[in-house]
């Protein structure tokens, strides 16, 4: 019982951190800060995963998101000066609609989460080494096709993004 409660505390703490950083993302005017806030939000989520004994996923999340969000940061600074929108200018539109939608979505999902009976809880979780092995077997086994598709999609996205982003070649007629 104590273990469970500690775990719950751990999860809740990092959940709150994630949410807090998520809010910060859209509260600050410094692009750098919002990017790193998002990074820490994702990191907190990774920590939640670890708290939920999905160790591999957690570590992976922490690692990937760090790189991803750092890259995002440089893009932010590239595309919009820092502080974003040059000072106090408002960088948002249709604010009320957005807030309402967000709140409604939140409330609705919470309602679903609370009022739905999710069925019996499972017992113990296999230890992380076991998990990793299972996940590997799963990926190389039943879900191989899906995973290969995902990898292929990623490759395609990389190539497409590069193709879109590179400077268009000047065709000189001679």
């Amino acid at each position: 019982m104590a273990m469970i409660s500690a775990q719950t505390f751990f999860i809740s703490f990092f959940g709150l951190a994630a949410v807090w950083f998520g809010v910060v993302v859209f509260r600050t005017h410094s692009m750098m800060r919002s990017a790193l806030a998002l990074l820490f939000s994702q990191t907190a989520i990774g920590a939640m995963f670890i708290g939920m004994q999905a160790e591999f996923l957690g570590v992976l999340q922490i690692m990937m998101m760090a790189t991803e969000m750092s890259i995002m940061a440089i893009f932010m600074v590239m595309f919009m000066m820092d502080p974003g929108g040059l000072g106090k200018m408002d960088m948002t539109h249709q604010k009320r609609l957005s807030v309402i939608t967000g709140l409604v979505a939140f409330v609705a999902i919470v309602a679903v989460a609370v009022f739905t009976d999710w069925g019996p809880l499972a017992g113990s979780v296999p230890d992380s080494a076991q998990q990793t092995e299972d996940l590997g077997l799963e990926l190389m086994g039943r879900s191989m096709l899906i995973f290969e598709t995902a990898g292929l999609t990623l490759l395609t996205a990389m190539i497409a993004a590069t193709a879109v982003a590179v400077e268009p070649i000047k065709r000189n007629r001679d």
């Binding site: 750098m32 790193l36 160790e55 591999f56 570590v59 690692m63 750092s70």
Partner: protein, 298 residues
């Protein structure tokens, strides 16, 4: 208890790294130099630039130190001498070390200084170059060990060290590790000669001391990682495990530092070209070959 011991060892390691670095620069053994320099830094006034981003400025050195320490937590120095033997240790090392990047970005951004910022962004480009070369050789190592447990990786090299089993992987990982520790010739972030210290430029006093300490710990950690992944960790004849670990780690450190001294600094564009056009194909080849070897000699 173990944690304290590890931290102590890391401190000693950092001291030795400083000594060796001084030796590689000046060629003389100045055993007291690190201590005196540290005391001097602590005693000096720590200047704070104007219009800075306080949070980043304060957090960056600490984050650097912490990430290096976190990476060190999953490294076995002797059998049992390990803080947490994570089931995903090899991955966790990468995850922790990525935060070096974050720290450097913060340190580059925070002080609101041109040189620092350039240094920070440069490190980002550098990461894009080396990240893959960290992960993919480690994949090959894990393939041989059939586990991500660092201890198991060490024991998997009982009969043959990975440096002989997959030399290509070792070379790639070594280079990538040097780039990660922004040691010369990859010290684009703190290019003393052109950026006036880069990310370090605006730091002084205690913060600079912490920053330097973090960097030293990072170097020693990377050396230890190399030892664990490729040099069979604590294993070795005649001598006790701790001695072997110490010898190997110090040797790798010296090698890293010396290599930096003899090579010219490399531009990040060239680094990117090198890593993506040569390094990654080689890494893939390495994975392939190791896979074959694993199939042949299980």
């Amino acid at each position: 208890m173990t944690t304290a011991l590890i931290l102590l060892l890391l401190a000693v390691g950092a001291y030795l790294v400083a000594v060796i670095e001084a030796w590689t620069v000046s060629g003389r053994w100045q055993l007291a130099a690190p201590i005196t320099a540290g005391i001097a830094l602590l005693g000096r006034e720590s200047i704070v630039p104007r219009k800075l981003d306080r949070v980043f400025f304060e957090v960056a050195p600490v984050l650097l130190l912490i990430s290096a320490l976190l990476a060190a937590t999953v490294l076995p120095l002797t059998p049992g001498l390990i803080i947490t033997d994570l089931a995903t240790g090899a991955l966790f090392i990468n995850a922790a070390l990525v935060y070096v990047l974050v720290a450097l970005l913060m340190a580059g951004w925070g002080p609101n200084g041109a040189y620092a910022m350039i240094g920070g962004w440069r490190f980002l480009g550098q990461l894009i170059a080396y990240a893959m070369l960290i992960v993919m050789p480690v994949t090959a190592v894990a393939m041989r060990a059939e586990s991500l447990l660092t201890t198991q990786i060490v024991t998997s090299q009982a009969d043959l060290w990975n440096i002989l089993y997959q030399p290509l992987g070792f070379v790639l990982f070594f280079v990538a590790a040097m780039a990660l520790a922004f040691l010369p010739p990859f010290d684009l972030t703190t290019a003393t000669s052109e950026l006036a210290g880069g990310v370090e430029a605006e730091y002084s006093g205690v913060r600079l001391a912490v920053f330097r300490l973090g960097r030293l710990v990072l170097v020693i950690t990377l050396a230890a990682t190399t030892v664990v992944f490729y040099l069979g960790g604590w294993q070795g004849p005649w001598l006790p495990p701790w001695a072997w670990s110490a010898i190997k780690i110090l040797a790798v450190t010296a090698l890293m530092l010396l290599a930096g001294r003899v090579l010219p600094r490399i531009r990040e564009a060239d680094l990117l070209n090198l890593c993506w056009k040569l390094g990654i194909p080689l890494a893939l080849l390495n994975i392939f070959v190791v896979g074959l070897q694993v199939l042949v000699w299980p």
